[in-house]
Amino acid sequence: MALSLENLVVSHAQNALLKVNVCVNDGEILTVMGPSGAGKSTLLQAISGQLHAPFSVSGKVKINGVVVNDKAAHLRKVGIMFQDALLFEHMSVAENIAFAMPSGSYANQQAKMDTIDEMLGAVDLKGIGERSVTTLSGGQQARVSLLRTLASTPDVVLLDEPFSKLDIALREQIRSWTFKQLKERNIPAVLVTHDKEDSLAAGGQIIELSPC
């Protein structure tokens, strides 16, 4: 019962754009499919609280049983990932992850850095903490990007076509790794994609959006 979208309707001006009524359990990955322009990304923005006028939302977005419709985006604990890694280029790898960690969650800076080293080590990226993010390969960037999202201890993770820019060989590897990480942490997730393979690998419910 972690993320539930109850009679959620997203409208542009007065016209209803999409309707969703679905429940995503802890550790489940809901796949949202549909043609371009069906409002897939708009749905994610509605969940994360980043939808501005002229869009409007009715119905309820519940996270762990709490309605978050009126909560500001940064208070919702909803992590979001795009097809680009979007690592902050003025920060090193470790700084990117440290930036995401909730402040006050570690006794001191050293404890924080040790945790980051551990996280990187666990995904075969040991020792790259000091590197500037522009020196990383596409696959490394994708992994750091997910680590960054996980470091913020989100209640929900939204994935906006996160694998579409990776080449085929890398794609499968990053995909199964990402899903494994989310399931291990019991995080409910919503995946938006064009790719049938993605939806099969996600293994959760699949909803098809059609323009209404």
Partner: protein, 581 residues
């Protein structure tokens, strides 16, 4: 909380731009209608206007303002479009841009003085022409430049100064991601249909971007019809343009002349408005004729002519710039340099020493004022842009905002600044620095906003969304993500603000009542002084000062990046070692 602060700042910015202009207009409207208690004029009437229109030379002044203003804007616009049409797809574009960019920050006063050095009857070109001929300076009565009564030299100087501005405005519109991708599609389609490069430019590119550069061009037009420095330095005196006359009347010892000046200021607003109407009317005709010609489907657009004109313009700029640099530099170190010799007789550093002694205070005034104005304007502009992204305004509010943003550029400065001074003397008589600060802000904020807005729109907002989804407040997103990502653009905007503040002549002179001397006010004053050589030093200092800001703007981000990349250089080495193993 942060969102509310940005919204308040947005309102502050709007009020900062609108109040001085509107107060200034009211402040000239009252004296123009005969109400000026300071000299005992307490009754409203139209007598002042009657007196103004009874003058013999008033219509000639109006004509000069209109002719030089409208003419120079058209010439500058035509020149800018010709250059763009020839170079917009070639590798030369960046070089042309580099050649013209310094003009943007070169003060109008300095540009006018510099042209004087190059083109006057004893200037460097006349010296070159006089090689092997007579050694007498041609009489000043029969020459075209400077001080011609027809206003042609003013027109020429204004066009030379405004052309780079229009080009850079057009390029900044054309480089916006959305426009850029649209244009590159249009260019491909046009070329595939067999249209020549200049035909593509005039028939597809210009119609697409013109709507977005219209407002800056209108600002240029108003500026050109009401500018004071250039006609003051290069224009004829019998009569002068309306703006110069207004300045003389306002500064007349006889305070009653203020009434006449105020009515002329109101007339100046009408003249600039008429220029705008003429321009907009002309635009309609061009659009109408253009549509007919579009349908005809001519594949060529006098390509040879366009290229020829473009190369001539570049040649003109190159020769003028080199002539100015040469003669100004030589004059600044010349002991004596009489006509028609190409080299001065003997060199000395005397003028530089004199200048530095004389300029110590103006220099520190300029820097202090510029630093204050530019830094605070930057804060206002950044918060305002942020408020737009946090809570986008409606379409109408947006339109109202951009008109108010351009208000100080669309109302002639010579008209509202005097009224503003009148108000400021009523409210806070002795806060000279504050008044000057406000007068500068009115001119600095709009340009800075335009410059920053381009960078802000280019910023990939998904970075902000990611940071927000990591639990960061809007302030943290702004401070930790946007500011560092936009650091380069922010520094350039800051340098631009500094340069614009340095170049202000009339706002400084009026708002401070002449008590705050800056490099620019001193340079203009020196033209009527005795030493050409000292003036040359002033021009050099005026030209170099804005560059200082830009050098900082270019160097600082690069230096910071280098610091960051030292780590990665070490890594690369260790990686190489790993690969070797």
């Amino acid at each position: 909380m942060f969102a509310q602060i940005t919204r308040i700042v947005r309102w502050c910015l709007l009020l900062l731009l609108c109040i001085p202009v509107l107060a200034g207009l009211v402040g000239v409207a009252f004296p123009a209608l005969g109400y000026f208690p300071a000299i005992g004029a307490n009754t409203f009437s139209l007598d002042v206007f009657k007196e103004l229109f009874a003058r013999d030379d008033i219509w000639q002044m109006v004509w000069l303002s209109l002719f030089s203003g409208v003419g120079s804007t058209l010439v500058a616009m035509a020149g800018a479009f010709l250059l763009l049409a020839s170079f917009y797809q070639s590798k030369w574009l960046s070089r042309v841009q580099g050649l013209l960019s310094p003009f943007l920050v070169f003060p109008h006063a300095a540009a006018a003085i510099a042209l004087l050095f190059a083109l006057s009857p004893s200037g460097i070109f006349a010296r070159i022409a006089a090689i092997g001929t007579n050694t007498v300076i041609p009489g000043t009565s029969d020459t075209l430049f400077p001080y011609d009564s027809g206003g042609l030299s003013v027109l020429l100087a204004l066009s030379l100064k405004e052309l780079p501005f229009i080009i850079l405005m057009a390029l900044s519109v054309m480089s916006q991601p959305l426009v850029k991708s649209k244009l590159s599609g249009y260019i491909k389609v046009g070329t595939a249909l067999g249209y020549s490069p200049s035909a593509v430019f005039f028939k597809l590119v210009i119609p697409t971007v013109f709507a977005q550069i219209k407002l800056p061009i209108l600002a240029v037009l108003v500026f050109a019809t009401s500018n004071v420095e250039i006609p003051l330095i290069l224009g004829g005196n019998n009569p002068s343009t309306l703006a110069v006359a207004i300045m003389h009347w306002f500064n007349h010892i006889d305070l009653s002349m203020r009434l006449l000046a105020s009515s002329a200021a109101v007339l100046q607003v009408a003249v600039s408005a008429l220029a705008l109407l003429l321009f907009l009317g002309g635009e309609r005709i061009v659009v109408y004729v253009g549509k007919i010609r579009l349908a005809k489907g001519n594949r060529r657009f006098s390509d040879g002519l366009v290229h020829g004109a473009a190369y001539s313009i570049v040649a003109l700029y190159v020769s003028l710039i080199s002539a100015v640099v040469y003669s100004v530099f030589m004059f600044s170190i010349a002991k004596q340099w009489s006509f028609p010799f190409l080299l001065p007789e003997g060199t000395t550093l005397l003028h530089w020493n004199t200048a530095f002694e004389a300029l110590a205070t103006p220099l520190s005034n300029s820097l202090l004022l510029g630093g204050l104005v530019s830094t605070s304007a930057l804060g206002l502009v950044l918060f305002t842009l942020e408020s737009e992204q946090l809570k986008p305004a409606g379409l109408n509010a947006d339109r109202a905002f951009s008109v108010s943003l351009f208000l100080p550029l669309l109302v002639p400065g010579v008209a509202f600044l005097y009224g503003l001074v009148w108000f400021q003397q009523l409210v806070l008589q002795n806060a000279v620095w504050f008044h000057t600060y406000i007068a500068h802000m009115v001119y600095v904020v709009p340009y800075m906003f335009l410059s920053m807005a381009v960078a802000y729109r280019k910023f990939d907002n998904r970075y902000a969304m990611v940071a927000q989804s990591l639990g960061k407040t809007p302030w943290q997103v702004f401070y930790y993500i946007k500011l560092p990502s936009l650091f380069g653009a922010i520094m350039v905007a800051w340098a631009l603000g500094l340069a614009i503040s340095f170049s202000q002549y009339l706002p400084t002179l009026l708002a401070s009542g002449g008590t705050i001397a800056t490099i620019t006010t001193e340079a203009v004053a020196s033209v009527s002084g005795s030493s050409t050589r000292l003036t040359a030093v002033f021009v050099i200092i005026q030209g170099v000062m804005p560059l200082v800001g830009f050098v900082i703007a270019w160097y600082l981000p690069a230096a910071l990046v280098k610091q960051g990349s030292r780590v990665s250089a070490v890594e690369k080495k260790s990686r190489a070692v790993l690969h070797g193993a």
